[in-house]
């Protein structure tokens, strides 16, 4: 009964926090294989991180043309921590559109990428996949605001 109570509390906390992403530089994964990743992410608020799933696309504008490229997301040695590798061209302006699931919970994020790597301050996080409009807005802001 006591154990059941603890499990119930743990699940309750996870749900209370909500399922979301935390992003960081590759060093945060503490996994040497991630060193060439653009960034790493951690799933928070998932009771069993081993069952979380993360994927997405890189959305960009190249020579005035809208592009969408499949993303390479790889699990690291830590459960619930993933590395995102560059699959998009160096030219143009790009944002990474992340989607994640944990049981019946969803999470999404838009992470702008500049020549010096991902732009933490302009990243946006959602409790659902990002909408097309939100992606377009982030791309527009990246194009207008220049890159870091």
């Amino acid at each position: 009964m006591f154990r059941l109570g603890i499990v119930a509390c743990a699940v309750g906390v996870a749900f209370a926090q909500g399922f979301t992403f935390t992003i960081g530089s590759p060093v945060a994964s503490q996994d040497f294989r991630s060193k060439v990743a653009v960034f790493v992410l951690r799933t928070d608020g998932c009771a069993d991180p081993t069952k979380s799933e993360v994927g997405g696309t890189a959305e960009g504008i190249m020579n005035g043309t809208r592009k969408s490229v499949a993303l390479r997301v790889a699990a690291t040695s830590k459960p619930g921590v993933y590395a995102v590798y560059q699959t998009w061209p160096n030219e143009g302006r790009w944002v990474v559109n992340l989607k994640g699931t944990c049981s019946d919970m969803n999470a999404g994020a838009i992470v702008p990428v500049g020549p010096n790597g991902f732009i933490r301050e302009s990243s946006k996080f959602f409790a659902r996949p990002a909408t097309e409009a939100e992606i377009e807005t982030s791309l527009k802001a990246l194009t207008q605001g220049g890159n870091k």
């Binding site: 960081g24 530089s25 590759p26 996994d31 294989r33 060439v36 040695s77």
Partner: protein, 348 residues
Amino acid sequence: MFTRHVSRKLAAYVDGQLAQSKAQQTEIHLRKCPDCRAECEQIKWGMAIVEHLPSAEAPEAIWSSIEAALQENRSRLTPAVPRWRLAFALAAALALASAAYWRFAHLTGTQWEVATVDGSPSVNEKPLRGDGQIGAGEWIETDARSRATVKVGEIGSVDVEPNTRVRVVKTRPGEHRLALARGEIRAKISAPPKLFFVDTPAGTAVDMGCEYTLSTGDDGFCILHVSKGWVSFQSNGLESLVPAGASCRTRPKASPGIPYFDDARESMKRALEDFGSGSLTTILSESRVRDTLTLWHLLSRVEAGDRARVFDRIAALTPVPAGVSREKALNLDTETLNRWKEELAWTW
């Protein structure tokens, strides 16, 4: 949490030698245990390296030793000794001799490839023309116009910049070690942590899976700049962890320098150079969230009386995570500091 780790079974598991039921148990444990998973990855990597080792021919001397042993055995043998025993003994002797020779040839004397990039670098004071090889104990030296590149076994490469003098110390698969006397090297290493080391007059750079530049002046000052992954710089029993985008400047025969991000405010960087002369106030007031890299290192380097000021500044910049108490952090509890560092690293 995990009372039964699977370390002892991992080699057999990776090699496909475990029975199906035990392999399944190991798989289940690996899914839940990050430590064993990391260890498993290292074993896989090690096996991959072994598979790439070139095969070595046994020396002629081995055959004469075996023939001599055969003669001796024949003279002692009685007809009652089964032939299979003799064959088994011979096979064992051959295996032992081959293993000894392999160890001698490959573990103690591996040569690395070295190539000229510009000008006329020298190896052991002899001009290097084009490509060559270098082994333990030998020096590479470049002048103002020359550069060279060294292939570090199977794990990466090191560019030797102009006006540099560097010695190859060890070339074993488990320990690749250089000594940088002066000048600058650029290392690109792709291997599990703690396989590549560079000694300098100010300390030792320990690769944690990274790309970095290391320079040493005639005064022995050492500057480390990391571009990918991270490096542990160690001296006097202490270490500084330097991630991508950060640098660390260390005096000779002193504790490792405090790392800082290259985009930190200049006033903070200047205060770090003068650290110890009342510059803590500037460092604290000028620090941003990602400068918790610097502050976390300062926590264990400042006088005990200043520790609380550093703690409070980090806590003001980013929430203190669960499992990190003020009391334990101020007492420099190792587990607490490591837990905090792992969380802070998400802001670096």
